[in-house]
Symmetry: C2
Subunit: 483 residues, 2 copies
């Protein structure tokens, strides 16, 4: 049943200031938002500008914009934050200890919000394109919002009139029962639909509705570097070889990859490669401009995600051609977009970046020097763990070549050697499947590391041979590498 107006006549609205004031100073607040879109923009701003002494716990679905992760941080209003961040202000606050943070997998977040593991949610603040007494239609991202609304004592809705009502046609809200009664997720196609376009809740939970009119900050993209182009070219070569030889991909290839320059270079590469012999699909977290291009060119059969990470041009293109795109694009709750059984079921080839990879294939996605948080693990663990093939794609060096991203030992491990199949840099491809730790070390060093670091990595491995053992590990040799 399509909705044609933003608000039921019976739904009273309030001012942003009043809505903000209704939130307790030490509340646990769940906000909508994923991939820096679809998050509430007005009420967090009002909270940041208030002169109240706030100590909020903020739970989002993924990254949100400055209204939450900059303005509220600078106002010293956030005590605790889950599960992923992407602003410098929040990163700094977490690393200097002024905001308490725990880094969580995206797939499991909805259950943690609803069934325990994270603090009980007092109020959910949700950006919507329309709202009624006991329902809302989310805007440009879904994330764990259905679970947050279910878990929250109260719901506050920002009806954002700058977001098109047509978004209701993109959403597929499917709610799972509580274990042990939840049963299987009945999704059989990447772009299939098993729910509807709205989130429902008991009417008594609706605490306030405010009207806003502010678009998401659009994504902007820089041109890929030479190294990124080379990574994408190696990735395309690898995918072409798999499609040619691996029976899993005889008829279709379902990819997941993240936002960013490598993703963009990959999508360009896909356009050039064509992959004419297989049905190409996307099952991941974010719909990006490049996916719209692939759909326009009939190179992509369908895209499933939980967020629309688009440029201004991409937003306009999607919203103005919603009839066409709504057939192939589905936004799902993150508990569905990142679900282990669906990633497995569709045989997803997962492509994720990393800060560094160690010689046996352990991956650090989150903490520089083992200690300083960058953003968080996000969905990388969901896809790396359950993909039919999990690929980590990264430049071989950082800091203009001064730091090797292929390291002897990961100082923080987000994805273990058990969960990484293939590593790709601008220099080549290390296919680690079925390989022993020492074989992996040789492949990563000789195929993926920057040539300038290969001799030092060889020296590390030689030193570990004195201590023997299955995994090339030696703490003294690690100290020597760091010096």
């Amino acid at each position: 049943m399509a909705v044609s107006s933003r608000l039921d006549e019976s739904t009273p609205t309030t001012t942003v200031a009043d809505a903000a004031r209704s939130i307790a100073a030490d509340a646990t607040v769940a906000v909508s938002g994923f991939g820096r879109v679809g998050y509430p923009k007005a009420i967090p701003g009002a909270l940041a500008q208030s002169d109240r002494d706030l100590s909020l716990t903020v739970v989002s679905g993924g990254s949100v914009g400055d209204a939450i992760d900059t303005d509220l941080v600078e106002a010293d209003a956030i005590d605790r934050r889950y599960p992923f961040v992407a602003t410098q202000a929040m990163r700094d606050a977490i690393n200097d200890g002024s905001v308490a943070f725990a880094d969580r997998h995206i797939a499991g977040l909805a259950d943690e919000i609803e069934f325990g593991g994270l603090p009980d949610v007092d109020v959910a603040i949700v950006e919507a394109v329309a709202v009624g007494d006991d329902w809302l239609i989310p805007s440009t991202s879904l994330g764990p919002t259905p679970a947050a609304v279910a878990a929250a004592d109260e719901v506050i809705v920002e009806v954002n009139q700058a977001q098109p009502l047509e978004l209701q046609r993109i959403h597929d809200v499917f709610r799972r029962e509580r274990p042990p009664d939840r049963g299987p997720i009945p999704l059989t196609d990447v772009d299939g639909r098993i729910g509807n376009g709205r989130i429902e809740f008991p009417a008594e939970k609706l605490r306030a509705v405010v009207r806003t009119r502010k678009r998401d900050d659009p994504y902007t993209f820089r041109d890929p570097t030479t190294a990124e182009d080379d990574i994408a070219a190696n990735l395309i070569d690898f995918l072409e070889s798999e499609v040619e030889t691996n029976p899993l991909f005889a008829e279709s290839l379902t990819l997941q990859f993240g936002v960013g320059s490598v993703g963009n270079a990959l999508m360009s590469g896909i356009r050039d490669a064509g992959f004419d012999d297989v049905d190409l699909r996307y099952f991941g977290e974010v719909v990006q401009d490049g996916l719209l291009d692939l759909l326009d060119d009939d190179l992509l059969d369908g895209a499933s995600a939980t967020s629309l990470a688009l440029s201004t041009e991409g937003q306009d293109r999607l919203f103005e051609n919603i009839d066409r795109y709504a057939e192939d694009i589905v936004l799902r709750p993150s508990a569905i977009s990142n679900d282990a059984s669906l990633i497995d079921r569709f045989g997803v080839v997962a492509v994720n970046s990393a800060l560094s990879v160690d010689l046996t294939g352990n991956v650090n996605s989150t903490h520089i020097g083992g200690s300083n948080l960058v953003n968080g693990i996000g969905g990388s663990g969901d896809f790396n763990r359950h993909g039919a093939i999990s690929i980590v794609a990264l430049p071989s060096t950082a800091a203009g070549g001064d730091i090797s991203r292929i390291v002897p030992v990961a100082e923080h491990v987000d994805h273990t050697e058990h969960d990484v199949d293939v590593v790709i840099t601008e220099h080549g491809v290390a296919d680690l499947r079925g390989r022993t730790p020492r074989e992996r070390a040789a492949l990563l060093r000789e195929q993926c590391a920057d040539p300038n670091y290969r001799e030092e990595l060889r020296a590390y491995v030689r030193r570990t041979q004195d201590s023997g053992g299955h995994v090339p590990y030696d703490l003294d040799a690690l100290v020597a590498w760091k010096d």
Copy 2:
């Protein structure tokens, strides 16, 4: 359709020696067996005694007995080995580099065998209780055998007349399609049945059938130590508190735990605690004597596993009362027993041991000193990752107190901080859910570490504070701890 004879009249048998001779010297051999039961005992023994120069690759489901992992090792007949081992001979061979080994998750193993990731299987050697032209009934474990039979060019069957035919009533062989067409697993109850008791294959694959008569080596159990009893008591207290307060366990509690003294102490504790208000179920890898006791006492509603790890008395009890036990006990392929979506669906509370846990919750299950393999990750990663609550239970020290198992930094990470909810030692319980790295460090140090090591662990954390950051990590401080 029940089978009443071991062999069809039309099925020719051969000698063990002939069957062994038919295997190429450099073959990739998949053997049945999981939890040291249900593995082929005769043909590996004949291979070990032959004077051929063998360089086999051996893939099992889990641990197997001495015929494979001692005799063949001592005969220098194995070049490569996947994915888990449990004998000293194999452990030594892997650690000195004479056998190449890769440590894999159990849940994913069947797909790796069938769809790529591991070497192509030339021959599957399967212990069975009965065989026909194009089917066999497995013996005391299932593991990835259905996938191994599907992947193998040839199948050799050891019909073990010492294993009762009644085992057919315990098995539930369910085969999944290849992605992306595999659909959901239609299991809705822990002890439900979705397949049948036999593994089918094209008749032309059956290379040889041999008759054997040798029981599995029975499990023997030592009495739990005081520390293990205390761990179990802390675990029972934690579970009782969850059952009382957590809506997930309002009606049922489904547990997974492994074989061993802590598991035995836990089962004793469950008998004493009763858990009368909830339906108690087991969804794990191994059926143990203690589970039979709980079933006998009507304290357990059902048990799903992939292997029967029983004492002689337990084997006799099960086989002599098969009518009764077959109602409540199901053996499944390991791709089902360890499946992510089922562990999630049933809200399994997972209890697994570890070698060590670091201060932020990273767990080392496999490698002493970061380098020397003990057994392998087995299914611990499947259950830790997907359990509704994942509990790591371990003594606080090793080597009679000379080594702390709560360490500053895990030197090998099998389960990351993202996948461990609760740590339990004889000293107490650290509930890490929703906690930041520094909060986790304090909980693990003060609740779980041996009091003799707490001051050193505090000193480590203090030193990391100089370098700042989100995670308490400092390489120099780690070196100081090791000294």
